[in-house]
């Protein structure tokens, strides 16, 4: 059983730099492993892409998307094709991953706006979620 937080980021991304401090502090406080994963120009493997890139595709939406996504699929099909062609990523991307003894579960959250009003609410939500997951995973 484990619980970890992975931040997929790009070295050129300023939003990521701001989120790193907040996330690291949170994880240190809760004693949860925190991993920074650089992609794009500093990726360990050249082909490594962010975990949300595949969601911007027709195939993904057809297989896993919600009914609302499928309804608007025709409208955004060209945009999706363009994003796939460019291999567009979205940074930062927070991955909360845990194994509860039976199977692996992940929550992926893309994007962060440090100067927006919602930034505090976002960090507070993350903190509550991590605290709750820690209790669930380690049963303490």
């Amino acid at each position: 059983m484990f619980l970890e937080v992975v931040l997929e980021e790009d070295s050129r991304c300023q939003r990521c730099a701001k989120l790193v401090h907040a996330l690291r502090k949170m994880c240190d406080d809760l004693n949860i492993p925190f991993i920074e994963k650089y992609l794009e120009n500093r990726a360990v493997a050249a082909f490594e892409e962010p975990s949300v890139t595949r969601t911007f595709s027709r195939e993904w939406i057809e297989k896993w998307g919600l009914p609302e996504h499928k309804k608007s699929l025709k409208k955004i099909e060209k945009v999706l094709a363009f994003l796939q062609e460019r291999k567009a990523g979205s940074y930062p991307c927070v991955i909360i991953r845990w194994h509860d003894g039976i199977r692996l579960k992940e929550i992926v959250i893309r994007g962060f706006e440090p100067d927006s009003k919602e930034a505090d609410a976002y960090l507070a939500n993350l903190y509550v979620l991590l605290k709750m997951l820690k209790k669930v995973v380690y049963r303490r």
Partner: protein, 124 residues
């Protein structure tokens, strides 16, 4: 005699009127009784042996205790004569955007998405 009849009649009417006024006043200012909500009966926790896959991808048998939270995992290096519950559900991954994660209803959304994922994994 006549005097006493009037006296008692007027007293009875006054008592009735004052009593009614007091009852109305009480009923207005009475606190509402809070009724206890019936709790939903908890579903019994599944227990016994489960066929699981650990984070390294190795199949194993996991014992989950009935009365306690005891969990014991036995890697499946050899074929073991264990009748384990099969957990065929695949790993779950839920995606959210920043705006969704910052909203108040995020936790409800997680629950709802997890339910959808469970249904889909169950073949529904």
């Amino acid at each position: 005699m006549v005097y006493s009849v009037f006296y008692y009649a007027s007293e009875a009417i006054t008592r009735a009127v004052v009593g009614l006024a007091l009852k109305i006043y009480e009923s207005i200012h009475r606190r509402r009784m809070v009724e206890r909500k019936e709790r939903e009966a908890r579903r019994p926790r599944p227990w016994g042996f489960f066929e699981t896959t650990n984070p390294s991808g190795i199949r194993e048998y996991t014992w989950v205790g009935r009365a306690t939270n005891l969990t014991v995992s036995i890697p499946e290096f050899i074929k073991l004569p264990i009748n384990a519950h099969k957990t065929e559900k695949p790993p779950t991954r839920l995606y959210f955007t920043f705006a969704e994660a910052a909203s108040k209803d995020w936790f409800k959304e997680i629950e709802w998405l997890a339910e959808q994922a469970e249904k889909r994994a169950g073949g529904g």
